[in-house]
Amino acid sequence: MSFEPGTELGKANLDVFAETLLELAQDNPDVLAVTSDSRGSGKLVPYAAAVPDQLVEIGIAEQNLVGVAAGLASTGKIVFAVSPASFLTARALEQIKNDVCYSDQPVKLVGISAGVSYGALGSTHHSIHDLAALRAIHNCTIIVPADNFETAEAVKAAARMFHPVFLRFGKRPMTHLHRPGTAFQVGKSLLVREGSDVAFIATGETVIHALLAATDLEREGISARVVSMHTIRPLDTDAILAAADECRAIVTVEEHSCAGGLGEACAAVLMQANRHVRFRIVGFPDEDTVTGSQLEIFTHYGISAQGLAGTARKLLASTDQ
């Protein structure tokens, strides 16, 4: 049976992160996971059992977690600092800025249960500011994998990087998006589906919803492209400009505030390249974010097959840009 993107359910990206990290750690004793009482939420319990000397428990102290990780990394250790994205990138933001990015210590910052993965727990546990915060800090690659393949590749790529990187994972099982043999490269987006009327430029756990919307739109004769923009920095500007040149409209999709995330980054690329294309940003608006499951929150804000198809349809039908 041939593989069709968007049809087979895989594991949670977090599980794949933990499995990939364990493989790396078993190959190389310098690989370390540093956790803030987060080994359970990081799916690192099997890791801790298999390579106990390669797990550094810090306790619930995210600032300390990042500072210690920077010190470990300075000695040549391959350090994954693993903590819920909401705490890692807010409470420890100064440590990320100074100890890791400014000091150029090659820590791999891993934001777990990112976006609204902890949707029902309230805004304390949502991480919808992290891309904006990190985009404004120099010297940090930002990767938001969409499926299990992208996750495994991103973790392996991060382990090889000599500079800071932020990875962001959710905890719901993800649908496979890429055919076997697909090549993953940091900074180079992946085309999930070809299309020429509208382009969905989506990132992370929203990509599958863009793909399902594209399938729906096809039935109406609308050809929708789906791009998985897994790397937010460096941004794949070629793919964004190609979408503007080859499609009539662009819809960006992200599990993040509309302020300062993927959408605004794409808008800046397009405007500064003088591309005037119909354009919408789908993400979370500037309001007290609703609570519920990740999917309920997605649906509420139009990050669903129906919502995204509707946005694309209206955008294509609009006469003003």
């Binding site: 000397d53 550094v56 810090i58 306790g59 102290a61 600032q63 300390n64 990042v66 500072g67 210690v68 990780a69 920077a70 010190g71 470990l72 990394a73 300075s74 000695t75 040549g76 250790k77 100064e94 440590q95 100074n98 100890d99 400014y102 000091s103 150029d104 210590q105």
Partner: protein
């Protein structure tokens, strides 16, 4: 290096750091003067680190958490040959790498610091890596006393004790002053010894300007096997310049021409008295 030579070096360092602060028109004068003797003893008596072994993973590490006193560090590193002292003529100038806080762009500096409450966590990481690798290097960090109000320090103290990091030493430049005034009136710290002990550290207090006493204390680390070592160095902010001592206004005060001349004369007198 004998105590007399160390004492002379300290005064020479004070003269130089004042010269570069005066030329730059900027700098953290009081705190640099208070920690010079500590840096002097570390770099000339304690640390196994030099321009020759700086790339060697077995070198000792010094991380200056109170980054604002970078002028003291710069003159000591220049004296040790990490870079030509004439580089310091560019201190704080446009695009000079010699900025007002430590950065790794300068040879000899391990980590970018300056925001307070960061150096100890980094040092814990380096010390923990040393334990994992069975390396015998040691890690030293210098904290300001005002800096101790940053909660991150206390998080890192927990971790250092938890992992029995007896290869780690923190030194507090206990000059009793911070930018707004006396530490005990800004945010009470005492009883510091008991607090550090309660956090699992082995603590010693020392006259932070007595180079012999400093060398003795820093030479007997770890104080207890299995525990990180804390040195409370009792110091005087603005040390050795009469009108700067014990005065918070010199935290980042830059002397006028007249004040600079007066400070220079005082230090030169001390230099003669020390036998230079």
């Amino acid at each position: 290096m004998t105590a007399v030579v160390l004492r002379i070096k300290s005064i020479q360092y004070r003269l130089r750091l004042l010269e570069y602060i005066k030329k730059a028109g900027a700098g953290h004068t009081g705190g640099s003067l208070s920690c010079v003797d500590i840096l002097n003893v570390l770099y000339n008596r304690v640390l196994n680190v030099s321009p020759e072994n700086f790339a060697d993973s077995r070198r000792d590490r010094y991380i200056q958490s109170k980054g604002h006193s970078v002028e003291a560090l710069y003159v000591v590193l220049a004296d040790k040959g990490f870079f030509p002292e004439s580089d310091l003529e560019t201190l704080c100038r446009f695009r000079s790498p010699y900025v007002g806080h430590p950065t790794r762009k300068i040879r000899g500096i391990e980590q970018n610091t300056g925001a307070l409450g960061h150096g100890l966590a980094f040092s814990v990481g380096v010390a923990l890596a040393g334990k994992k690798d069975n390396a015998d290097y040691r890690v030293y960090t210098l904290l300001g006393d005002g800096e101790l109000a940053e909660g991150s320090n206390w998080e890192s103290m927990l971790t250092a004790a938890h992992y029995h990091l007896d290869n780690l030493t923190a030194i507090v430049d206990r000059n009793q002053l911070q930018i707004s005034g006396h530490t005990e009136s800004v945010c009470r710290l005492e009883c510091l010894t008991e607090k550090f002990q309660a956090f699992g550290w082995s603590v010693r207090s020392v006259d932070g300007h007595d180079v012999t006493a400093l060398a003795d204390v820093l030479g007997s680390i770890p104080f207890e096997v299995g525990k990180p070592s804390m040195v409370i160095a009792r110091t005087i902010k603005g040390k050795d310049v009469s009108f700067m001592e014990h005065d918070a206004k010199w935290h980042h005060g830059v002397p006028s021409d007249e004040q600079y001349e007066r400070a220079r004369r005082e230090l030169e007198t001390l230099l003669m008295e020390a036998g230079a």
